[in-house]
Assembly symmetry: C2
Homo-oligomer: 292 residues x 2
């Protein structure tokens, strides 16, 4: 078994991006600028957003963190989005999800200018992705493909099971893996809560991607010998051995599955850092497109 080290791969990408940014700035380009909007004080969201800001600093991007109390109204948030859409200084921005219940996440997503939607959540970007047109690819699925590519994992002709049909991971990833691209050309089966005989289906897969948010869902008896395992799950579970009282758990029973598979992503340190790397790639791309 080999670890798919998202942290190391992400670092390699960030190193490349830093060189690219330095070069662009020397050539007279503006500094790429990513803004992040965070509502409320959810610990997970704060951690993610801080990691994104930190990545910007490492690469030499400018970043702005815009924070709101969780009592912010939808109208206030929409006004800020319009402001960011119109601000030529900002190359891309994200609104960290989830949002409080009184705010319509889809309405917020739809309000973001697709040309600044570096998370790749806007329907226009998803639709372009489907048609293989230039677009911002959804950050987590794109990070997963990049992780496989940089670690020499062949996808063409492989049987792949994606567990979970979320709008931001499972559903778009199932398309990206199936398309005539490299990485891609997989035979993808998308399984979900209504699927019958999930175990049998997962057992047939050469590549298993777990993205349902159920800690330890994928057990060793569901995994074919030598399969590649990508674990997108990041659920906080109580862990008294940890200083902060919790640990991050993936959707895969790592300890037992690791013995059977060829490659596996750890949690944390697997897919998470790759999502951030994708976001940085999209932000640089946006700066370049906007200043052509």
């Amino acid at each position: 078994m080999q670890l798919l080290d998202g942290k190391a791969t992400s670092q390699a990408i960030k190193d490349e991006l830093k060189l690219a940014v330095d070069k662009r700035i020397k050539e007279g380009s503006k500094t790429p600028h990513l803004a992040a909007v965070l509502v409320g004080n959810d610990g997970g969201s704060l951690t993610y957003v801080n990691a994104k800001v930190k990545a910007c600093e490492q690469i030499g991007f400018q970043s702005s963190l815009i924070r709101y109390d969780d009592t912010v109204t939808e109208a206030e948030l929409l006004a800020k989005i319009i402001e960011l859409n119109n601000d030529d200084e900002i190359d891309g921005f994200i609104v960290q999800l989830p949002l409080p219940n009184h705010i319509d996440e889809l309405k917020i997503t739809m309000a973001i200018d697709p040309d600044k939607d570096v998370d790749g959540f806007h329907p226009q970007n998803l639709g372009k992705m489907m048609l293989n047109l230039p677009s911002f690819l959804p950050a987590t699925p794109a990070g997963i493909l990049e992780l496989m590519k940089r670690n020499g994992i062949e996808t063409s002709g492989k049987d792949c099971v994606v567990i979970g049909r979320s709008n931001i991971v499972g559903m778009p990833l199932s398309i990206m893996l199936a398309k005539k691209n490299d990485p891609g050309n997989c035979t993808v089966t998308l399984v979900h809560s209504r699927t019958k005989n999930i175990k049998k289906k997962v057992l047939q897969a050469d590549i298993i991607i777990a993205a349902i948010g159920q800690p330890g869902f994928v057990t060793a008896d569901m995994v074919k010998e030598g399969a590649v395992i990508i674990d997108v799950g990041t659920t906080r579970v109580v862990d008294s051995s940890k200083k902060n009282g919790w640990a991050l758990k993936g959707d895969v029973d790592f300890a037992n599955v690791a013995e059977k598979c060829s490659y596996i992503t750890p949690v944390p340190g697997g897919v998470g850092p790759m999502t951030i790397a994708s976001l940085m790639i999209n932000t640089l791309q946006s700066m370049e497109l906007r200043n052509k």
Copy 2:
């Protein structure tokens, strides 16, 4: 085995649409108006476009057929699309594909106002479909779902294999079947030219959707007893017994598969008429949205 009679189902939809249109017009609405742009003299394209115009007449829609010689330039075609986009009289329009090689089909598709894109090919409509937002659903996939629904075919929890990953049928249909909708909630496997052991995969399916344009590709030994078969293929093959010298062949070996399956669409008279019904549904919907 029961035939999934697309002609009869499409007729039932058209009858309902005629009543709905008559009612709208009595209430003071404008008459829905569909325009179709046809380039060249391909016999298949001409047949499809004529069928669409005829359907408009049956329902009481207005229709306009705009024809170009296959020497038309991309610029001329784009100018017409912009004109149709801006013409308030037109509720929706289609550009019949395929187009001659010197015209970029994607460029043409992208130029169509998503709010008049009743074929549902524009990335904005595809992306909205992915997110379950109101949109024009791609006509052929939507017609297939409607055909199953109106014939009482349960999809939830079923294993479905979609053969072919085209932008206009296989790819969007695989998503629509997998989503948490009714019809939907299938476990979908999308197979294509790079798939290994296609036969084994198709054999496991409760619902088989063939959309690759290879006459007779799905043979009886690939079909589980009692499966539901949807045949999207329409390839012209030489047939000297026919007056015009050819016959339309589906992707399924109908004669032998029919004996094993529970439901099957004929070719012609299965999916084809349903595509037209979807187009009519989208056009009425567009008129209503535009005149709200």
